[in-house]
């Protein structure tokens, strides 16, 4: 499970004045070890080369270095940042990691292997704000901004390894960075991708019109006992069939299907989204 707490500390591998530089191999090994455990690492050298330093907003810095005379006593002039220094002379990468872990103590931190950052990323250069992703997603991942623009609002709700919404986007505008294949992984979209995506599923046709039109038709349905073709319940049933087929084709994990919300919940969500979009439009 992800934690949204502030990163506990920033590790600085200091190899500037007053410290002995590591070998390139030892430096790379140490940085890889720390990064693979989830730490952010700044490599600070003598100031030569192409790079400048980023400003930081960290409350805690852990400075690692091979300090000939022992670790220096460091204090932030502004008093905002707690700084600790550790001498890593003679220590291998794993020993340095143990030192860093000990310094972190019980402070929570996200770590690789326990969770995968899985959520959609919208390419607004392609997105036409058609809202098909919002209509399709069953887990409230999408929402509408005050300006009426589709947004990813609840990425924690997204089901790991489910890229279904990206498959139904008619413009191939939805990406999942941790997905394996193009164009969903963010690779450049080519004309073949566009043609293929448009051949897949057209949610609008599944619903027999857009979802808002379907909702309007609920009242019409009440007036006509024979309006089966415009029945939102039927549309939702077809939609579920579509999901089942996509699951059978390996597009959606079975556990996602097992936790489908009820049709009423889906309709309520769509009505809420519509109300937000209308309110945003009236406010403009």
């Amino acid at each position: 499970m992800i934690t949204h707490t502030h990163r506990p500390m920033r590790v600085v591998l200091y190899e500037g004045a007053g410290a002995i530089a590591l070998s390139a191999e030892a430096r790379a090994q140490l940085m890889a070890t720390l990064l693979d455990k989830g730490y952010a690492v700044t490599r600070a050298g003598n100031g030569n080369g192409v790079s400048g330093a980023f400003p930081h907003d960290d409350r805690s810095l852990l400075v690692l270095g091979s300090f000939a005379g022992g670790p220096p006593m460091l204090e932030d002039a502004t008093g905002k940042t707690h700084i600790e220094a550790r001498d890593i002379t003679g220590l291998g990468a794993e020993a340095v990691l143990a030192l860093v872990e000990k310094t972190r103590g019980e402070r929570p931190m996200n770590q690789p292997g326990t969770w995968k950052p899985w959520f959609p990323v919208i390419d607004y250069a392609r997105c036409t704000n058609c809202m098909q992703c919002l209509s399709f997603c069953l887990f409230d991942v999408y929402g509408v901004s005050q300006e009426g623009k589709i947004q990813v609002q609840n990425n924690d709700n997204c089901k790991t390894n489910c890229p279904a919404c990206s498959r139904v986007c008619p413009e191939v505008a939805i990406m999942f960075p941790k997905y394996s294949s193009a164009p969903i992984n963010g690779d450049v979209v080519n004309t073949d991708d566009l043609r293929r995506e448009k051949m897949k599923v057209d949610i609008t046709s599944l619903l027999g019109g857009d979802i808002y039109a379907s909702l309007k038709d609920r009242s019409a349905q009440a007036k006509s006992r024979f309006s089966k073709e415009r029945s939102p319940d039927k549309a939702l049933e077809e939609r579920k069939k579509c999901l089942t087929k996509m699951a059978a084709d390996g597009f959606i994990p079975a556990e996602v299907l097992a936790s489908l919300p009820s049709p009423d919940e889906i309709l309520r969500k769509a009505e809420e989204a519509k109300a937000r979009a209308l309110a945003a439009g009236m406010a403009e």
Binding site: R43, N46, Y124, P177
Partner: protein, 117 residues
């Protein structure tokens, strides 16, 4: 090897993403890029995973986006720019370059990161 850029020009800041939370970047490429950055002697920033940071709207992404000129070794530029934008910290079109460790070789990415303008 590269040499120092004249002081009058802003030095590009370097950001390396390890993609540690999912193995979608080839191990040999990300190891190779990190090795070359370390060989270069350059100062640089490295993070475990930009996606993980974006997932919880890490404030440091703003600092990265504001730190131009900027070169990022990560994955597809379309998705990296989307991640920053989604977090309210869009990367500027000019001044931010994304190198793709999923599609380019370690040599190509490292050369792009360390090139002299």
């Amino acid at each position: 090897m590269f040499s120092a850029v004249p002081d009058s020009e802003p030095k590009p800041k370097l950001l390396y993403c390890r993609c540690a939370y999912a193995q979608v970047v080839p191990q040999a490429v990300k190891d190779g890029v990190l090795a070359k950055l370390c060989e270069s002697g350059a100062s640089f920033e490295s993070v475990a995973d930009l996606c993980e940071m974006a997932a919880h709207r890490d404030e440091r992404l703003k600092a990265f986006a504001a730190g131009t000129p900027l070169r990022i070794a990560a994955c597809y530029p379309r998705v990296v720019r989307g991640l920053f934008l989604q977090c309210g910290s869009p990367l500027p079109e000019e001044g931010a370059e994304v190198l793709n460790m999923r599609a380019q070789t370690a040599e190509e990415v490292a050369a792009g990161m360390l090139k002299e303008e």
